[in-house]
């Protein structure tokens, strides 16, 4: 408002505008407030999710172990030399029982002894086998070994944090007594849970690990990346740089956009029909998983690659053409390098999406119990989100915290992938 307006006696106009101004400012404040509120709500939800997962899952990184005095007695083991063949049949369970009986000599009676033996994980004999195989000179000697405790013991010990009584559902009075006794003397302790990172899946929570699923995820993603990135980029270049604009290319474009929104289970059904039933590729293999996820991520990669190509200013193409470059030289020498950061970002986001998929893998047999770590793309494998799903559905208490711990691992992978997408874009991006 200028002074001349005022002097012309339009004070009522000015008043009205000032009133309106106040209203407009108020509206802006409300809008800003709403924006902040929605972001705050988002952060709150994420914070809740993370605290819930971390508070539930943190316990899984530490596993209760029992320190036992183990004698590798050849008589009990039933072997006289250390080689792979004889170790397979050696009675390591007997050695552990011997040691438990020596620690609690007062325990007698069949059922009491059975209870005593059940304190140690059923995987412990294999720990000892591996130890002896690695150190053959231990045969006949005695040493102190930390062995994983059974998951019921683990659950009980961890529940003591929350209440004095602890969760006694699966732990008898007698067993609780032994545990308290061992806890006091320091023979029962929570130690770092290496098995969680080195083992495959197991029905015994204390032996269950994410390694097989992690390797399976990496193999599957590798196949997906190797297939979907070149195909996606090639399709995008053709559609953007070469293809004529006509009804056919419009139709293709609509279809690509459509495919990006198709529920992922549909790709799984397609994979089952084509790759497994028709091409007879093996079930549960990362190869087939990668092929299915390729189909799923291709639209994402094509769309983002096309957007990246579109963002390269036409002046660069024109300048290159003007210098006498051929169409292909223009694309590969000038446009593609400039569009690459955007394409990589799209690819990484597509990969991150593929990393979290379970539904399409259900149909092709990757929702499975896998103990052995896969060694190649045709070995049976599962992936991290499937492992989380399977554990979430298991009745054993100790799987609850392992589920959350596996979610933490998956989340950290996603964060690393998305952060690297941001970093790549920042680093390689060029502005005009």
């Amino acid at each position: 408002m200028t002074d001349s307006n005022q002097s012309n006696g339009h004070s009522s106009v000015r008043e009205r505008i000032e009133q309106g101004l106040a209203r407009r400012h108020r509206k802006e404040k409300i809008f800003r407030g709403l924006g902040i509120a929605s972001i705050a709500f988002g952060i709150l939800v994420v914070a809740l999710l993370f605290t819930d997962i971390i508070s539930k899952g943190a316990g899984a990184f530490r596993q209760t172990a029992i320190e036992l005095q183990i004698t590798y007695d050849p008589a009990v083991l039933g072997i006289d030399k250390v080689d792979h063949e004889s170790l397979t049949w050696a009675n390591f369970t007997g050695v552990i029982r011997e040691s438990l009986r020596a620690r609690f000599p007062e325990v007698s009676g069949r059922s009491d002894k059975r209870e005593l033996y059940s304190m140690v994980s059923s995987g412990a004999p294999f720990t000892l086998r591996d130890r002896l195989e690695a150190n053959p000179e231990l045969l006949g000697k005695t040493e102190q070994v930390w062995l994983a405790a059974d998951d019921d013991v683990d659950t009980f010990v961890k529940s003591l944090d929350d209440s004095k009584e602890g969760f006694r559902g699966r732990t008898s009075e007698m067993m609780a007594g032994w545990i308290q006794q061992l806890l006091k003397s320091g023979e029962l302790k929570r130690r770092f849970n290496t098995a969680f990172f080195t083992n495959g899946d197991s029905r015994e929570p204390e032996q269950a690990g994410i390694r097989a699923a992690l390797v399976g995820s990496l193999l599957t993603l590798l196949v997906t990346l190797v297939l979907s990135f070149p195909i996606g980029v090639a399709a995008a270049i053709y559609l953007e740089e070469y293809a004529p604009k006509n009804r056919w290319t419009d139709l293709i474009e609509v279809n690509i956009n459509n495919l990006a929104a198709v529920p992922s289970i549909v790709f799984g059904l397609l994979g089952l029909a084509i790759f497994i039933n028709f091409f007879e590729l093996p079930r549960s293999a990362p190869l087939v998983g990668g092929l299915v996820l390729t189909l799923m991520t291709l639209p994402t990669i094509i769309i983002s690659s096309r957007a990246a190509l579109k963002a390269v200013p036409p002046s660069i193409r024109e300048a290159a053409m003007g210098m006498g470059a051929s169409r292909m030289q223009v694309v590969f020498h000038h446009v593609l390098p400039l569009a690459m950061p955007g394409m990589l970002t799209g690819a990484i986001i597509g990969m991150a999406q593929a990393l979290g998929e379970t539904a399409p893998l259900l149909m092709i047999g990757m929702v499975a119990f896998i103990v052995d770590v896969p060694g190649g793309v045709t070995d049976p494998a599962t992936v991290l989100p499937v492992q989380i799903f399977l554990w979430a559905d298991s009745p054993e208490r100790a799987f609850v915290e392992r589920t959350s711990a596996a979610i933490m691992v998956l989340l950290s992978f996603l964060i690393v992938m998305n952060a690297s997408a941001v970093w790549l874009r920042k680093k390689l991006e060029r502005r005009w």
Binding site: T88, R203, V223, I231, P282, F369, D372, D393, E396
Partner: protein
């Protein structure tokens, strides 16, 4: 001109991927056992699979959790290395499924492995309920006999447990249970609902097809909540909502006895012992079905079956009992074992 290698690299990697794919088409015979089927049997098959691979030189069998029906479909698809060797089932095979198997040239060996109890439970902070199967039927069926005594069916009018049976508390009826795709739901419909409605004379004399619909259709007005396949989820919801009851497998009750308690059904609490001696009425048999022609072809099939049917696995003190499976009586175990050793194929369902 130095950008050309990028182009070549892309082509090379695409070619490499195609070669991998092509070489796999000619894959040699499968060297691990492939198992599909019920999610209820899954914890037990996987336990056996793990012990089996540790005790022998064979690869660990791959166990997929596909549901009973889905497993049967895959299993009966045909014979060959791309079809599963074994499927788990939380109910007996249906005649239609068996016919489908026979049509595709599959000889099926039936192995009953044990029992599973279904528990109806609520939060430990609420009082333990003592229900009859008739109470459960009246509380959960979509249509019930008219409470005024006339012999007609009406939409279920009951709002609280007290309405159903004056001896029960006046809590709102709210039951969380599995969706229709679940084997647990099938078993609940058969063992509880059907049995409960047979006790009502008016329904008992109905003709078979109509009776089945009346007996097995659950109400859809919010009193029965389909809470998904995940039983742990139901357990968590029970802890949050003291008035709600939940329906799930016995193993989940066994692992969470500090938070929830099983309701008595027909006067019996769900415990390991009461399910094993069948005094607790809601238990169902668990099966695995084996493809006879794969035994001896896929490495380790015989040994796997031997492990599953060994005393240390399915016996009274076996490791499967520890996982929550209820063992069969000794005589029944011996009978099944003899059948497994001979690999007698199932010809029709009349034989048992």
């Amino acid at each position: 001109m130095n950008k050309r290698p990028v182009n070549k690299k892309i082509v090379a990697s695409a070619l490499a991927a195609l070669t991998i794919a092509a070489s796999q088409a000619a894959l040699a015979a499968r060297d691990h056992i492939s198992i599909v089927g019920s999610s209820t049997v899954y914890p037990f098959t996987t336990t056996v699979a793990e012990r089996f691979s540790r005790g022998t030189q064979f690869n660990t069998p791959v166990v997929e959790s596909t549901g009973t029906g889905g497993g049967m479909k895959l299993f009966c698809q045909g014979v060959g290395e791309n079809t599963p060797d074994i499927t788990g089932a939380s109910r007996r095979i249906k005649q239609s499924e068996l016919d489908n198997c026979h049509k595709n040239g599959i000889d099926v060996v039936e192995v009953q492995v044990g029992f599973d109890g279904i528990a109806v439970a609520n939060s430990k902070d609420a009082e333990q309920l003592s229900l009859s199967r008739k109470d459960l039927f009246l509380a959960l069926a979509k249509q019930v006999p008219n409470p005024d005594g006339s012999e007609t069916l009406v939409a279920n009018p009951y709002k609280t447990w007290k309405d159903v049976n004056p001896a029960l508390p006046a809590h709102k009826i709210e039951v969380l249970g599995p969706p229709p795709t679940s084997g647990t739901r099938d078993a609940f419909a058969e063992l509880v609902m059907e049995h409960g409605c047979e006790t009502i004379p008016m329904i008992a004399k109905m003709e078979k097809d109509k009776k089945k619909v009346v007996c097995q259709t659950l109400r859809e007005d919010g009193a029965y909540v389909e809470a998904g396949e995940n039983d742990n989820l139901i357990v968590n919801k029970l802890v949050a909502d003291h008035n709600a009851l939940g329906i799930f497998g016995f193993s989940y009750l066994d692992q969470n006895t500090d938070k929830i308690q099983g309701s008595k059904i027909d006067g019996e609490s769900p415990t390991f012992e009461s399910i094993a001696d069948h005094s607790y009425p809601v238990s169902r048999p668990l099966f695995i079905y084996v493809k006879k022609s794969h035994v001896g072809v896929v490495p380790g099939m015989k040994q796997f079956l031997a492990e599953f049917t060994s005393e240390r696995a399915w016996g009274e003190e076996g490791y499967l009992a520890d996982k929550g499976m209820i063992p069969m009586p000794t005589a029944k175990r011996q009978q099944v074992l003899a059948n497994v050793r001979k690999l007698n194929a199932l010809s029709n369902l009349a034989q048992k």
